[in-house]
C-alpha cells in the first residue's frame, strides 16, 4: 500500500515539475504564421486608446464613479443645509466678526 502511495506521489510530483518547467515554453510553441501575426500586432500600433485593462478594473471604475456621484450629491445636500443655516445666522446678525 505504501509503495503504491509513494509511486503515486512520485508521478504527481514529477508531472507537476515537468509541467511547471515546460509550461512557459509550451506557450511559445506557435506556428511561424502565428509568430508573424504576433510580431505584426506588436509592431508599434497607430494609436493607443486607453481603457480599463480587465473586467475587474472596469467594474472597479464604474463602482468608483457611482460612489463618487452619490458622495457628491450627499455632500451637496449637507452643504445646502449648512449654507441655509449660516445665511440665517448672518441675517439674524447672530455671528460677530470673531465667531
Amino acid at each position: 500500500m505504501m509503495k503504491i502511495e509513494k509511486l503515486a506521489a512520485f508521478i504527481l510530483i514529477s508531472y507537476l515539475l515537468v509541467f511547471s518547467i515546460f509550461s512557459s515554453s509550451f506557450g511559445q510553441q506557435a506556428s511561424p504564421q502565428e509568430k508573424a501575426k504576433e510580431t505584426e500586432v506588436k509592431k508599434a500600433p497607430e494609436k493607443i486608446v486607453p481603457s480599463p485593462h480587465n473586467i475587474k478594473e472596469k467594474t472597479a471604475i464604474y463602482v468608483f464613479l457611482a460612489w463618487m456621484w452619490v458622495s457628491i450629491l450627499v455632500l451637496i445636500y449637507i452643504l445646502r443645509q449648512k449654507i441655509r443655516e449660516v445665511d440665517r445666522l448672518y441675517t439674524l446678525k447672530f455671528l460677530g466678526s470673531d465667531f
Partner: protein, 359 residues
Amino acid sequence: MKIKNLLPGIGAWLEERFGFRGLSRFLNEKRVPQHRHTIWYYTGSSILLFFFIQVVTGIMLAFYYKPTIEEANKSIARIMAEVPLGWIIRSVHFWSSSFMIALVLFHMTSIWIIKSYRKPRELTWMSGVFLLILTLFFGFTGYLLPWDDLSLAATKVGTDIPRSIPWVGAWVTKLLRGGEDVTGDTLTRFFGIHITVLPLCLLFILVIHIYLIQKLGMSLPLGLDKKKEEVKELPFWPNFVYREMVVWLVLSGILFSLAIFLPPSLGKEADLMAPAPEGIKPEWYFLFLFQTLKVFPSRILLVTGDTLAVSLLLLAGILFFFLPLIDYRPEERKGKVITFIAYFFIIYAVVMTVWSLVQ
C-alpha cells in the same frame, strides 16, 4: 497631561509664532458682494482647484515619464498600459488642463466685460494676463511631451510662428526649440520648462495676484460701484466658501467622469524624418489663432501675411495687457466700446474655433 489640554497648548504655541488669529480675523471680516454677476466670482477659486489637480497628477506622471526621444512615447504608453490606473491619471491631467484654461478664459473675459480692471486694480489685471500667458504656455509645452507624430508636427508649426515677428522672431524660435529644428533637445527643454520654470513663475505671480485681490477686495461691476451701499454682501467665511465648495464638487465630478469616458489617446512615436501628417491641429484653445493665421493671405502689399498676422496678434496682446491704462476713466461711452470689443472677440474666437474644427 491630557490630550484635550495638549491641543490648545499646541494651538497657543503655534499662534505665538505664526499669528493665525490675524488671518482668521481677516477671513471673518472679508465680504463678497452679491449681485447678478456674482457667479463670475466662483471662477477664480475653481481655477485654483484645477491647478492643484494639475500639480498632483503632474507629479504622479513625472514618476514614470522619461523626457528623451527614445523613451518619451514608450513611457507614456507604459503609463497607459502597465501602471495601475495610469491612464486615468493621465486623462485627469489632460482634462484638468482644458478645464483650467477654459476657466481662465472665462475669468478674464468676465473681468473684461464687468470692467474690474479699473483703478485701483490695474496690477491685478496685469498679473492676471501674465497668469493667462503662463497657463497657455503650460498647455503648449505639455502638448509635445507624448512625443507622437501629431504633437511633433503641431510643435513644429507652433514654434515656427514667432519666426514671423520682425527682428527678434528667428531668435525666439531658436530659443524655444533649443536649436534650428524641433529635436530631442526641444523635448527635454519643454519638459524642464513644463515642470520647473512655469510652476515657479506661476506660483510667484499667483501669490501677487491673490494678495492684490485680498488687499483691494472684490470689485463691483460698473454702475453698481456708485451705489455701493445698496449692494448686499455675504461673509466670505463660511457663507461664500460653502457655496464655492458646491461648485468644486460639481466640477470635480464632471472632470472625473470625462476623464474616465473620454481619455486621450496616444499616437505612434514621432519620427523626426517623417513628413507632417495630414490635419495637424493644435489644442482647442489655440484653434482660433491657428485659423486666423491660416486665412491670412500670403502677401499683403510689401509684407508677408504671416508677419502681418503675427504682428497684429502681438499688438492686440499688448493692448490687452495695458487695457486698464487705456480704459482708465469711468466714462460710459468708452466703456461701451470696450464692452463691444470684448463681445466681438468672444464671437470671433468661437467662430474661428468652430471653423477650424469643421475643416
